[in-house]
């Protein structure tokens, strides 16, 4: 409240009158004992304060009032507005001039200070607005980006579901057309036994592909939800590799597959099915992205810190350094997105994401290097050998069940 009163428009004039009246009231009883300089300075003080609080106009009023009170109450002859001595005239004029100057200068200074303050506040509020706008913008941008990502993922999934479906639908309608050949009114259909078998084979293979894709999707969803359950058993590394190799046999008919494993490999406590799935995925990728006739090498050796290191290397075009992390993202495909020249069908973009999920569930690591002589790609992963105490993370998961 007091501040509000100070801010009122007429408060300055009241202050000027009140201040002057107060000084007059305090000093008037002692008018014969105080000298005129003290009185003048006291009135100047009023002018100064009024100027500082309320600006130049109330200060002007305080100056005029001060001059009159100074003259009326303190300069002889007292209680008249006449001035007897020449020096008192000088005192009065000097007082008035000083009061005016003090009043105007300090009011001016105050105004400047206020302007500076308000400008500062203005800048601050502008800055705050700008900041808020930026925040909103980046939030909107983030939402937009995540929407775009979602729609890209959806596109990838629908493409992978629709492609086999297209081949199946086209094959089946071809077979149906042939079956109702007698009633068809348009072109005659001539499908020999070989073509018929061809169509059926496509349907069979593409159904498998759809099924594989859906299984991958479910695996990936499990890994992402942290629901991957590992069944840890003691097993031999070479058995895991040979299981994967025999599964991948049909994929590697055009490649030379070599195994470079250390002789004295320890047995490991892992989920053998899951790990062989990882090796299978890596062999599949190696066969897909390297030319026929080239070699695929599978490495296995004991690493430091109770780990076993395994790797699958190909002689393909390799993977660019800046894409070596991204290929583990789900639905990322080096072939489509990164333009690696190959006429092979591209994968589902899930294999490496699943492999990473399996390796990390075993508390291992997976990464990509260049192959020998900087050629091709080598996908390396590590697995802890594990112990019977079940210090392994996967074992803990099992215990929860």
């Amino acid at each position: 409240m007091p501040l509000r009163v100070l801010n009122l428009r007429w408060a300055g004039y009241v202050g000027a009158v009140g201040g002057t009246a107060f000084i007059t009231a305090v000093l008037a009883p002692f008018q014969d004992r105080v000298n005129s300089t003290t009185v003048a300075l006291a009135f100047l003080l009023v002018v100064l304060f009024v100027a500082l609080f309320w600006g130049s106009r109330p200060a002007l009023l305080a100056s005029v009032l001060g001059m009159f009170c100074f003259n009326f109450f303190f300069l002889p002859p007292l209680y008249t507005l006449t001035v007897s001595h020449g020096e008192n005239w000088v005192a009065l004029i000097v007082f008035f001039t000083t009061a005016l100057a003090v009043g105007q200068l300090s009011a001016h200074a105050k105004q400047r200070a206020e302007e500076a303050e308000s400008r500062k506040r203005e800048v601050e509020s502008l800055y705050a607005q700008l900041q808020a706008a930026f925040d909103r913008e980046s939030e909107a941008e983030a939402i937009k980006r995540s929407e775009r990502l979602k729609s890209a993922l959806l596109d990838a999934v629908t493409h992978d579901l629709r492609t086999p479906l297209t081949a199946i639908k086209a094959s089946i309608t071809t077979l149906i057309d042939e079956a109702r050949e007698q009633t068809a009114e348009s072109q005659p259909v001539e499908l020999d036994a070989e073509s018929r078998f061809d169509m059926l084979e496509v349907i069979d293979q593409e159904s498998d592909r759809l099924n594989r894709f859906i299984t991958d999707l479910i695996d990936l969803a499990r890994i992402e939800a942290g629901e991957l359950r590992l069944r840890l058993r003691w097993g031999a590394v070479d058995e895991i590799i040979s299981t994967a190799l025999s599964r991948a046999k049909s994929l590697t008919t055009n490649h030379h597959v070599k195994i470079a494993a250390e002789k004295e490999l320890p047995v490991v406590r892992v989920d053998a099915n899951a790990v062989s799935e990882v090796v299978y995925t890596l062999i599949d990728n190696a066969a897909k992205y390297s030319p026929p006739g080239s070699s695929i090498i599978i490495y296995a050796r004991r690493g430091p810190d109770g780990m076993v290191t395994m790797a699958v290397e190909d002689e393909g075009t390799g993977i660019d350094r800046d894409m070596r992390e991204r290929v583990f993202d789900k639905f990322f495909r080096a072939t489509r997105d990164g333009d690696v020249a190959t006429h092979q069908p591209s994968g589902t973009g899930m294999g490496l994401a699943i492999a990473k999920g399996i390796v990390e569930a075993h508390e291992g690591k997976i990464w990509i290097e260049s192959g020998r002589n900087g050629k091709g790609a080598r996908v390396v992963f590590t697995l802890p050998i594990g112990d019977d105490d079940g210090a392994n993370h996967g074992q803990e998961l099992l215990n929860h069940e």
Binding site: R162, L165, K169, A170, D339, A341, H343
Partner: protein, 225 residues
């Protein structure tokens, strides 16, 4: 010729089309497609849109630069934008995946029919007699199934353009550029109004059978038997 990066689809289409007496060759991307095209000269090209190396769009563009061969685009729902671009570049028709072989064959037949039909030249021909439509270009008289129809000049231009491009998918953009000029290619509402009016005058029923809507793409004109 079938251009697709999916070997299985090429395999199926090759068998399906061969069983109807067509001679088929496959190509696994746009670049190989262009090579095959230059040495083999097929009567019709079927191409996928999403392919590595030279994609479907670029393939259509380069093919159009050297040939007027009919192009049918295979596209998936969700690829509308690319599909429209392909049609704008000069593809003749599209089939949405997954499709039955019958649908593809129908489009193939229509495209081949159009390609083999005698060209309608602007200068020499005064009478257009296509399907149910009989048009005198000089007197601007239009008869549909023998019934005379009165059209405004813009409706007349639109109908003539439709007739000259029968059975071809025409994008909104193509139609707007052809009838109103290249400054109006974004004004889809013009087209909607004029197609609506034209339909009221020529279509026998509420369900259009001559000017068929291709959702999100444009229109296809079927002149009738």
């Amino acid at each position: 010729m079938v251009v697709d990066d999916e070997p299985q689809l090429i395999r199926v289409l090759r068998t399906g089309l061969k069983s109807r007496g067509y001679d088929v060759r496959g190509a696994s991307d746009g670049e190989i497609g262009l090579e095959t095209f230059s040495e083999w000269h097929p009567d019709l090209v079927i191409t996928d849109l999403a392919m590595p190396n030279v994609d479907g769009l670029e393939f259509c563009r380069r093919l159009r630069a050297i040939s007027q061969v009919p192009i049918i685009v295979l596209s998936a729902k969700g690829e509308e934008k690319t599909k429209v671009e392909a049609l704008d570049i000069g593809a003749d028709d599209f089939v949405t995946k997954p499709f039955g072989i019958d649908e593809l064959l129908a489009r193939v037949r229509a495209s081949l029919r159009r390609a083999n039909a005698p060209p309608i030249s602007d200068e020499t021909q005064v009478i257009l007699d296509v399907g149910d439509f009989h048009v005198n270009l000089e007197s601007r008289e239009v008869k549909v199934r023998g019934r005379e129809v009165h059209l405004t000049p813009k409706e007349f231009d639109l109908l003539i353009y439709f007739i000259k491009h029968s059975e071809k998918v025409l994008t909104h953009r193509t139609l707007l550029a052809a009838i109103w000029g290249s400054n109006y290619v974004e004004q889809n509402e013009y087209l909607r109004v004029f197609v609506g009016n034209l339909r009221k005058k020529i279509e026998p029923d509420a369900t259009p059978r001559y000017i068929v809507t291709e959702p999100w793409i444009g229109y296809r004109f079927d002149p009738g038997s």
